[in-house]
């Protein structure tokens, strides 16, 4: 509407009220008296809110608790002496991060679109920016800073790999992505026997990286499980259908925190006592299954919205049932419900903060644990929670923003 007038072949310009600043103001803020009043009232609200908010943030709040915790927000207690005895294990998450940068670079090289490029540079740029945090060198060594900076060359490296080597196909980059996820897990967990990969118990995992690992793992697994459940629920085989419905309804009908409680209290009973127990793994399984149940319903919605003619056309072409599903129905169904799926991902990411129930120190719990163990910081709880809200907001809003771009790119609106 507000686009500037382009030259008209007939030489007649659109009227002023249709374009330009006045046109915009008139159309959007002051089109009638009611709108004008609304505009003024909302503007007043906005200004007071901003005034008090900013005043608190810049004058009243004491942010030392944030700087005190610093890197622990990101990595939890991963790099403490207890976690990684006699070694500096900081390079392991760093290396994982660099691999992610390479992967994002490869995705960009593969697809070559603006969104992928923006995401890759954003992640690498933010990581590299951490290298310039104003800590002294004792707190944050030169090695750490160099590893952080390496994220920048990692992006073009990935890009070049995808562009100029046989790696550059969708399947291979996907495989690479999955591989990197597992390599990251191995890097973080360590391998017994390898001296430079000394195992680090999961109890020391924490901070935002824990939220991200749980979210990424949960997201990658809940999508296929959700798809399977959705297909099962739509299946015309009564037994399969009933099983899927039962699973979905039970997992959707119960609060996640009771499921997490149960994963810690009842589930261990079902396994032999001397079997290595891993409460984080159990929690991850529960979170994934919970998310899958929701994912299944999202996908089912997408499948239902699909025109039956699509599957018919595929069948008429002689494609067997599973290929019809994999090549025709699912791609379209998923594309239909990208917003819902991303919403589900965001929900899952937010839900990872509930692992405090099982005593894991995720980004929220690490902060709370700190102020509780160091009571002099208890009065800083407000600052802490405002900071945490901002951290989550940046990630989740980033996700929905990217999903919007991906949607545009995939041309959801084009049909």
């Amino acid at each position: 509407m507000a686009s500037p007038p382009v030259s008209q072949p007939e030489g007649m310009l659109p009227p002023r009220s249709e374009v330009g600043v006045t046109g915009w103001l008139h159309a959007n803020l002051f089109s009638n008296w009611f709108n004008s009043v609304l505009t003024l009232v909302s503007a007043a609200l906005l200004v007071t809110g901003l005034w008090f908010g900013l005043k608190w943030i810049f004058l009243a709040a004491d942010w030392t608790v944030i700087s005190e915790l610093g890197g622990r927000f990101l990595l939890g207690r991963y790099n403490t002496e207890a976690a990684c005895e006699g070694q500096n294990c900081f390079w392991r998450p760093q290396a994982a991060l660099i691999m992610v940068s390479v992967l994002l670079g490869a995705a960009w090289g593969l697809r070559g679109n603006r969104v992928a490029r923006a995401v890759a540079w954003l992640v690498a740029g933010v990581s590299a920016a951490f290298a310039f945090l104003p800590y002294n060198l004792a707190t944050m060594g030169l090695d750490v800073r160099i590893l952080l900076l390496l994220n920048l060359p990692a992006v073009p490296l990935g890009w070049a790999l995808a562009k100029y080597t046989p790696l550059g196909t969708g399947t291979r980059v996907t495989i690479l992505g999955v591989a990197i996820f597992f390599i990251t897990l191995i890097l973080l967990r360590g391998l017994p026997g390898l001296p430079f990969l000394q195992p680090v118990s999961v109890v020391y995992w924490g901070g935002l990286s824990l939220n991200l690992i749980l979210a990424v793992g949960g997201i990658t697994l809940s999508l296929p499980i959700g798809i399977a459940l959705a297909l099962g629920r739509r299946s015309n085989l009564p037994v399969v259908k009933v099983l899927c419905v039962f699973f979905i309804e039970v997992f959707r009908g119960v609060p996640l925190i009771t499921l997490l409680f149960m994963s810690q209290t009842l589930v261990p009973l079902a396994f032999p006592e001397d079997m290595p127990q891993n409460s984080l793994f159990r929690a991850a399984v529960v979170i994934t299954l919970f998310s899958s149940a929701y994912m299944a319903e999202n996908i089912r919605g997408g499948l239902q919205a699909l025109h039956p003619g699509q599957a018919e056309a595929a069948r008429a072409l002689g494609l067997p049932g599973w290929q019809t599903t994999m090549l025709i129905s699912l791609p379209q169904a998923i594309r239909n419900v990208i917003p819902a799926i991303v919403g589900q991902f965001i929900g899952l990411f937010k839900d990872t903060s509930l692992v405090y129930i099982i005593g894991m120190l995720d980004v929220v719990a690490i902060g709370r644990s700190f102020i509780q163990s160091n009571p002099e910081y208890l009065p800083s709880a407000r600052e802490l929670f405002v900071f945490l809200a901002a951290v989550f907001w940046i990630f989740t809003y980033g996700m929905s923003y990217i999903s919007g771009k991906v949607e545009d790119y995939m041309g959801v609106g084009r049909r």
């Binding site: 810690q264 709370r368 009571p375 002099e376 709880a381």
Partner: protein, 372 residues
């Protein structure tokens, strides 16, 4: 159509059927086996395996503890688990593995304590757990009281209250899933106080709520009250009432079903206590014979107190005391002057009246079975 192809297909199918039948058979056998085991009340777990062996194979002692109470279990600025309870876990790790850092601390909340120890996932629960008979019966075995606490109240000084019996009609803040809640109810009912409770899941919230005046009083174990008072915006404005409304003996708990492990934990706790009683400090653990036979026996220099039966090394006490110090040192480090500064002298957490030490606090109840 091609009959030979059909035939091979049929053959394949038959083979498949055969395989499936075999599988079914196997599955049936397994299920039957499972049912039988169910009936016998056994489980397919390594019954022969003792916890001591499991722990040694694993190379780590797993303790369930906490991260939110300074002095008992917290996380220091460097990110390490510290506290009285954590040190008890370290002592155990030194005893069975020879390494005080061979521990893994599972952080759990109050409500998870029972199920966690019941499932046998952890080797020891040291999370300010009050010893009660029903927990002893239902959760696991209490090894040894390592700290005597009692529940008290904190109020604002300007309220003019000097006795808990004056709390009629008060709103009292309490943490969830603890004996504290239960004791408060008993106290209120018994004295007809009609107390209203506000139950919080976590310490940060409960302290903030009390500090802001959302409740009139804050009840917890006295020692924790003392620690948390320092966190209030103005500690001097608050007093801890003299009343103690409950017995709160705190100590480690081990899972049911492994007597040897139970005994090991009890012995380690006794080593810490007798270490103090005999005046053996961390910095000065004799490794050669002294003039005290009791000390020599404790340190494994001469004689024994059952190390072999317990599967521990001769010099287990030396190792433990060198690694974490004696009871008094652990106390001072965490709860005493270098910790949250709870007085010990003259209290119940001093050693028993005629403990043989020269300059340690005496006249209290910290006592363990003699080591011999």
């Amino acid at each position: 159509s091609d009959t030979s192809a059909l035939e091979t297909e049929n053959a394949n199918l038959k083979a498949e059927n055969e395989a499936m039948k075999a599988e079914n058979e196997a599955m049936k056998a397994q299920i039957e086996e499972g049912m039988a085991m169910l009936a016998a009340g056994t489980l397919p777990m390594g019954d022969g395996e003792s916890r001591l062996n499991t722990v040694r194979e694993r190379g780590k002692v797993i303790c369930a503890s906490r991260d939110d109470v300074p002095g008992y279990g917290g996380i220091d600025a460097a990110g390490n688990n510290v506290g009285f309870d954590i040190d008890l876990c370290r002592a155990l790790a030194t005893a069975v593995l020879g390494d005080p850092s061979a521990i893994e601390i599972r952080l759990i909340n109050a409500a998870e304590r029972g199920p966690t120890i019941q499932s046998g996932e952890v080797d020891m629960l040291v999370r300010t757990v009050t010893w009660t008979s029903s927990r002893d019966a239902g959760w696991g075995n209490y090894a040894q009281t390592m700290f005597y606490d009692g529940q008290g109240f904190m109020v604002r000084a300007d309220s003019g209250i000097t006795d808990a019996l004056e709390l009629e009609g008060a709103t009292v803040c309490v943490t969830l899933g603890t004996t504290t809640e239960l004791n408060l109810q008993d106290f209120s009912d018994q004295n007809g106080l009609g107390i209203t409770v506000s139950t919080f899941e976590d310490t940060d919230a409960v302290v903030a709520a009390y500090d802001a005046g959302q409740c009139d009083s804050f009840t917890n174990d006295n020692s924790q009250l003392a620690a948390l008072r320092t966190a209030l915006s103005n500690p001097a404005d608050h007093v801890i009432l003299p009343n103690t409304i409950s017995e709160e003996p705190l100590g480690p708990v081990v899972p049911h079903g492994d007597d040897q492990w139970f005994d090991i934990v009890k012995t380690v706790m006794a080593i810490l206590i007798y270490g103090e009683a005999y005046g053996i400090s961390q910095s000065d653990v004799p490794s050669a014979a002294t003039d005290n036979t009791k000390v020599d026996r404790l340190l494994g220099i001469s004689g024994a107190f059952g190390q072999e039966e317990l599967g521990l090394s001769e010099t287990v006490a030396q190792d433990v005391l060198k690694a974490v110090g004696n009871y008094g040192e652990i106390y001072d480090r965490n709860l005493g002057p270098s910790g949250i500064n709870l007085p010990r002298e003259g209290g119940r957490n001093a050693l028993w009246a005629n403990a043989p030490c020269t300059d340690c606090p005496k006249g209290g109840q910290i006592y363990a079975a003699p080591l011999r």
